[in-house]
Symmetry: C2
DNA sequence: CGAATTAGATAGTGTTACTCTCCAATATTG
DNA sequence: CAATATTGGAGAGTAACACTATCTAATTCG
């Protein structure tokens, strides 16, 4: 197909497709002449992946580039590959030693083995730090509930990783990591909404209630 | 305290504090003269909340403004308040009717009662849509696992909402909703990393393995 | 042949979240 | 009281990001 067709089928404007080509996010098509090039299903697939990562996964284009590089460059074994994908996906930033300690304690308690420099380890510490900063106390039991939930979800995630080809595996992991996050978060909020309606609807609060919003 | 002190204690540059004041995110201090104003603990607290929402929660400033408005304007009962906070926090956007149907089916199955126009309902449909677009199949059982995990987490969330004051409740919900999301996601990724190491490390893939990365 | 289309390059745009520069007024110091 | 430093407030400027529009030359289709 030509670019106009690629654009039509993906719903991405031609100018944007050209931009992605320039940025190296999308491999060039096969040039049939100086002013024509054809694209195939792989291009369409890749384009849809880019869009999903950007619009749903909220990744920045440089992160998308890194992710796609990991997808295209499978490593020795699946774990390494998954690790590369994770490394690229995890947010960066530093946290206090206390927060890092809290994370380490949790990991030891759970017997979770993760890479010492894992970006996710950092990410959790940063999140802890932010909670402390605003004075939000995260109880041990709540954290346990969270960790249990996370473990169950990860169990399902890992179980569904295809092992037939590295490309498929990495793409699955990347999509699963990035695009299932909104699913998990939306489900949590919906569950909160449901419970809030059932548990809190009758609860008055100290502030004088207004008769009408 | 004066602005310089507020800046020092919060770690936010003076210019940025001034910007937040201009944008109405931070209430003005009490002017003691034409060129002096004093700020109190509430300002510091609010400032830290803004920073956490922006940097950890990744909210945009206009969303932060809406969230703070909800925090400052408690409604008739806690559920309504929580609903307002949710409404502000949920991403907007439209999805296909099929995706919306899938969401409705899930909610009916789970007997989760949520507002018909719930933004979270929309958000889940959008996430489903994105998965379909990239050809990622989310099995019924995986979705069940996710929903169970979400329910457990939400249970813990709602249980810890303080009911003594509307202000506290809303602030708790907002912080809990926004700042615990990174915690949940980081935990999921760490659990994935752990399981990936245990399950996938030995798995070769079809692609010819390289002897060295 | 001639109008329309296309690839590829370059430059421009809109948004967001700051950040910088002033200036007048006030506080501080001698 | 005068000289100096600091502060609050306002407006303009900036950097990053993700497009988007324009232009040009080639080429394809009618």
């Amino acid at each position: 197909m030509q670019m106009s067709e690629l654009s039509r089928q993906s719903g991405v404007p031609v100018a944007t497709v050209k931009y992605y080509l320039r940025e190296g996010l999308l491999p060039p098509g096969v040039a049939t002449s100086a002013t024509r090039a054809t694209y195939d299903e792989a291009h369409l697939r890749r384009l849809r992946l880019i869009r999903a990562l950007v619009q749903v996964g909220q990744l920045r284009l440089d992160a998308v580039r890194d992710v796609l590089a990991a997808v295209d460059d499978p490593a020795v074994n699946l774990h390494h590959t998954v690790g590369a994908a994770h490394h690229v996906l995890a947010p960066h930033g530093a946290a206090s030693p206390q927060a890092a300690d809290a994370v380490d304690r949790l990991l030891r308690q759970r017997r979770w083995r993760v890479h010492p420099d894992s970006a996710n380890r950092h990410a959790l510490a940063v999140a802890f730090e932010a909670l402390r900063q605003v004075g939000f106390e995260l109880s041990e039991t709540t954290l346990d509930t969270y960790a249990d939930a996370a473990a169950a979800v990860a169990e399902a995630d890992v179980a569904t990783v295809p092992t037939d080809s590295a490309e498929h595996a990495v793409e699955h992991v990347v999509i699963g990591t990035v695009l299932l996050e909104p699913v998990l978060l939306a489900l949590r909020r919906l569950a909160q909404e449901n419970l809030s309606g059932r548990r809190l609807a009758r609860k008055r609060v100290r502030t004088a209630p207004r008769t009408r919003g």
